[in-house]
C-alpha cells in the first residue's frame, strides 16, 4: 500500500502511522450522546472511508486519507489542517 503525502509525494505505507476515522470534533458544549457517538460509534463501511494518518517517518504532517476498505485503493489525500475537522490554526 502506498500513500501520497501532500508534502512528500507517494510513499510506502511503512512511513505512516494510522490513527483512525477522520471525524470533526464535537462543538464546545456538545452533549453526552454526541461525545459517545464521536468516541465509540463507527460505521465500518465496506467502501470508501476517511482516516487520519501521520507521516511519522517523513514530514510529520497529519493527513486525511480517503481509502477503499475493499480494494485497498487510496482514493485521495489532503492535509488534515485543511479538512475542516475543527480547531483553528
Amino acid at each position: 500500500m502506498r500513500i501520497t503525502c501532500p508534502n512528500c509525494g507517494e510513499r510506502d505505507r511503512r512511513e505512516f502511522y494510522v490513527k483512525g476515522a477522520a471525524l470533526a470534533r464535537p462543538d464546545v458544549g456538545a452533549g453526552l450522546d454526541e461525545w459517545h457517538d464521536h468516541l465509540h460509534l463507527r460505521d465500518n463501511p465496506a467502501s470508501e472511508t476517511k482516516e487520519l494518518w501521520y507521516h511519522e517517518m517523513g514530514c510529520g504532517a497529519w493527513i486525511e486519507v480517503c481509502r477503499n476498505t475493499v480494494s485497498h485503493e487510496v482514493v485521495s489525500t489532503r492535509l488534515a489542517s485543511g479538512a475542516e475537522l475543527g480547531g483553528k490554526r
Binding site: R14, E56, M57, G58, L79
Partner: protein
C-alpha cells in the same frame, strides 16, 4: 569543576571507505530549526534573506549560500545549518537550537545512491534526486533527512542517539554494494 570532553556524534566511528564510497562525519557549527508563525512566511523569508542570504526552502528542496544551508525539514519547518540563526528571525518564526541533537554524515562516491537504495524506500538516484533536493524519509527504521549536496554526495541526518546504528547500517550496505562489484 570537572573538565568535560566534547565528543562528536560519530566519535571513533568515521571516516570509513568501502569500495568507491566514503562515509565521513560533518560538523556544522550550528543547526537551528525555523518554523514560521502562521501568516509570517513572507516576512520570515525576507528576514532569512537579509540575515543569511538564503531563501526559505520549498518543500523537498534546500537552499545554499557560502557556508549556510537551509534544508526543508518537514511540515512548515526548515533547518538552518552552518551559522547560528540571526536573532531577528525569532520575530517571525519559532527557532530551536538543534546543534547537538543530530548526527550528520556525508556519503560520497559513485555508488552512494546504490547504498541508500538498500536502506530507504525512496528513489534517490541522480536523475530523480538532483543536487539541492531533500527528503524526510525512513532509513533502516530511523527518521532521517537526506539531501543531495553534490553530484555524488548525499548528506544524511538522524537523531544523535542513533549515530552508531546509522554508521553500522550504512557500513553494512556499503559492503553489500562493494561486494557486487
Amino acid at each position: 569543576m570537572d573538565d568535560l570532553i566534547a565528543m562528536t556524534p560519530c566519535d571513533g566511528l568515521l571516516p570509513v571507505t568501502i569500495g568507491d564510497v566514503t562515509l565521513t562525519e560533518d560538523l556544522p557549527v550550528a543547526m537551528t530549526s525555523i518554523a514560521p508563525y502562521a501568516g509570517q512566511d513572507e516576512a520570515l523569508n525576507a528576514a532569512l534573506k537579509d540575515a543569511h542570504g538564503l531563501d526559505f526552502p520549498a518543500i523537498n528542496r534546500s537552499t545554499v549560500k557560502a557556508d549556510a544551508r537551509a534544508i526543508w525539514f518537514g511540515q512548515g519547518i526548515a533547518l538552518l545549518q552552518g551559522p547560528a540563526a540571526a536573532i531577528e528571525l525569532a520575530k517571525f518564526a519559532a527557532l530551536t537550537d538543534q546543534s547537538d541533537g543530530w548526527a550528520v554524515v556525508r556519503l560520497e562516491g559513485k555508488g552512494a545512491a546504490d547504498v541508500l537504495a538498500r536502506l530507504a524506500p525512496v528513489d534517490l538516484r541522480r536523475q530523480n534526486f538532483k543536487q539541492g533536493h531533500t527528503v524526510r524519509t525512513e532509513l533502516a527504521h530511523m527518521m532521517a533527512s537526506i539531501t543531495r549536496i553534490g553530484p555524488d554526495a548525499l548528506q544524511i541526518m538522524v537523531f544523535r542517539s542513533m549515530a552508531r546504528t546509522l554508521v553500522h547500517d550504512l557500513k553494512t550496505a556499503m559492503a553489500g554494494v562493494a561486494a557486487r562489484g
